[in-house]
Symmetry: C2
Subunit: 350 residues, 2 copies
Amino acid sequence: VEPGARAVSIIDQTQLPHRFEVARLSSLTEAAQAIAQMRVRGAPLIGVTAVYGLWLQLLEDASNSALNLARQRLVETRPTAINLRRCVDDAVSVLEPLAPEDRACRALELAHALAEHEISLSQRIGKHGAEVLRGLWKPRRGARLNILTHCNAGWLATVDHGTALAPIYELHAQGVPVHVYVDETRPRSQGYLTAWELGQEGVPHTLIADNAGGHLMQRGQVQACIVGTDRTTSQGDVCNKIGTYLKALAAKDNGVPFYVAVPESSIDWSIANGLRGIPIEERSATEVHDVSGRDEQGQVRKVRVTPEGSAAANPAFDVTPARLISLLITERGACPASAQGLLSLYPERG
Amino acid sequence: VEPGARAVSIIDQTQLPHRFEVARLSSLTEAAQAIAQMRVRGAPLIGVTAVYGLWLQLLEDASNSALNLARQRLVETRPTAINLRRCVDDAVSVLEPLAPEDRACRALELAHALAEHEISLSQRIGKHGAEVLRGLWKPRRGARLNILTHCNAGWLATVDHGTALAPIYELHAQGVPVHVYVDETRPRSQGYLTAWELGQEGVPHTLIADNAGGHLMQRGQVQACIVGTDRTTSQGDVCNKIGTYLKALAAKDNGVPFYVAVPESSIDWSIANGLRGIPIEERSATEVHDVSGRDEQGQVRKVRVTPEGSAAANPAFDVTPARLISLLITERGACPASAQGLLSLYPERG
């Protein structure tokens, strides 16, 4: 947000990695659409964007009904990530008691504070995660540490630093030779965002098809997996981008540690069993059918890759049960993926 | 092969599912390139194509040195599938003792016989596999049977019928309501070939990203998995298209039967442990970087999907250990994936 502007600027992630474009959101509708279309994506970032969306609405109309309608529209954009609902609900509960004329200004403060908060969570996850990964690197006597990640939980997905990528950036900054295997993450291919981010930061990396990770783990070519989470349950189940579960199974089968970077904002203390309790977003089949890329002239083009007449299904998330997770890495430190583990770090939830 | 022609016709699978094109191979070089570039693919089909390639060479030059050079060129095109090497070696051992002038004619006979043999293996696998799947369908009281498959092991990959798809075609012909979840199978996306084939045969199916299968199994939406194999070991390990292992892990974790359709031609009796013994083909990174599809005008275009400057790795196969496989379905019937299981069907190998 530029001072005095009635708009918030975003990196349009649907244009990456082909084009770097900054877009301006200047209304609730634009903010809600940006979230639904995944122009902004990543659990922490959509929570923050949603509160900026509330602010944009309140600039226009700060009545109770406008506030509640805005709340509902924002929450409905993406059902799986908990941040979105929580950030919006928390903001509304602060704003509702205020006089309408005070609401917009307060909403902007809340959005800024939330952005700062997410940055600070990311930084602390980076520090704790780097410590855990350093422990894996030490016995390697200087050989590079190979880490596999799925989807994008970097600075594009948060506000800065990232969750799953924050420890990797921290290690890289410390001079540890780290190399990242980046899952493509079909159908939306957020792995290209991760590869682009890692390239910007100078971190060595290799893109692989989502199918390849199990094979690499069987061959001892991966020392750790680390991913983000869209919703973490009180017993440590993790709901993350579709395909995460398959990598966790392969990690378990090959004795590779599987870590999840968990900002407190992703924990849903009201749900224990992730398979039973978390709604899984089903997105449009066109995300499976259509692929965008650069043609020989460098122009971005969309092509249809699937056969005419074949249907496609597109569940966007899956649940990785706690039993497959080695450690949750939170802003308060690392803990086992269990109710007890989480309560040891968040005793106030006991 | 048309009577009198000095060429063999193939369906060019690199053009599917966008265009159906028949190409003519009229020399050893064309045959070897078609195999290496995956214009023909699928373990049974490349074995047959290679023997036709030998014939094409012998039409030109039937000397010992030409025969052995042809053998070597063909075997080097694809290292993982055992059929290719075995078919070529078997043919050479029949042809070598013959007078050079008799070799070409005999090679053509061998190629025809091999094609017939593969068709007969496929038919029998279809019959035995359908019986196994019917057993899963019976308790469903009429509800459709959902089967997940990875890659393409249909009639495109064999000579007719297919291996993994043969039982599905057989069930469909018997009137059992079957529905197939088709893994996209990045990076070469052979799932589009499977979807196209199933569409041609009128079999209901849904394409999914490779990431989605575990989630569907967690939700009870898949009653069985069935895949093909490029090489099967004497203890029942299976080397198949990259990503097969991940689906087998998910099947095991969710109690979903995981079947492999195994023509005898895929069994390598000389290797027990698949992880130690089978060479895994590493293919070009461009297969990860570039994607082909139809633009809005229906023109087929290739686009670059990955970020500039990011490397990619492309292992083409992985090994699924026997412990994850419920049954091997061979042309002689079904058996447990174990040395004992295989020997019960192939006692002559004991």
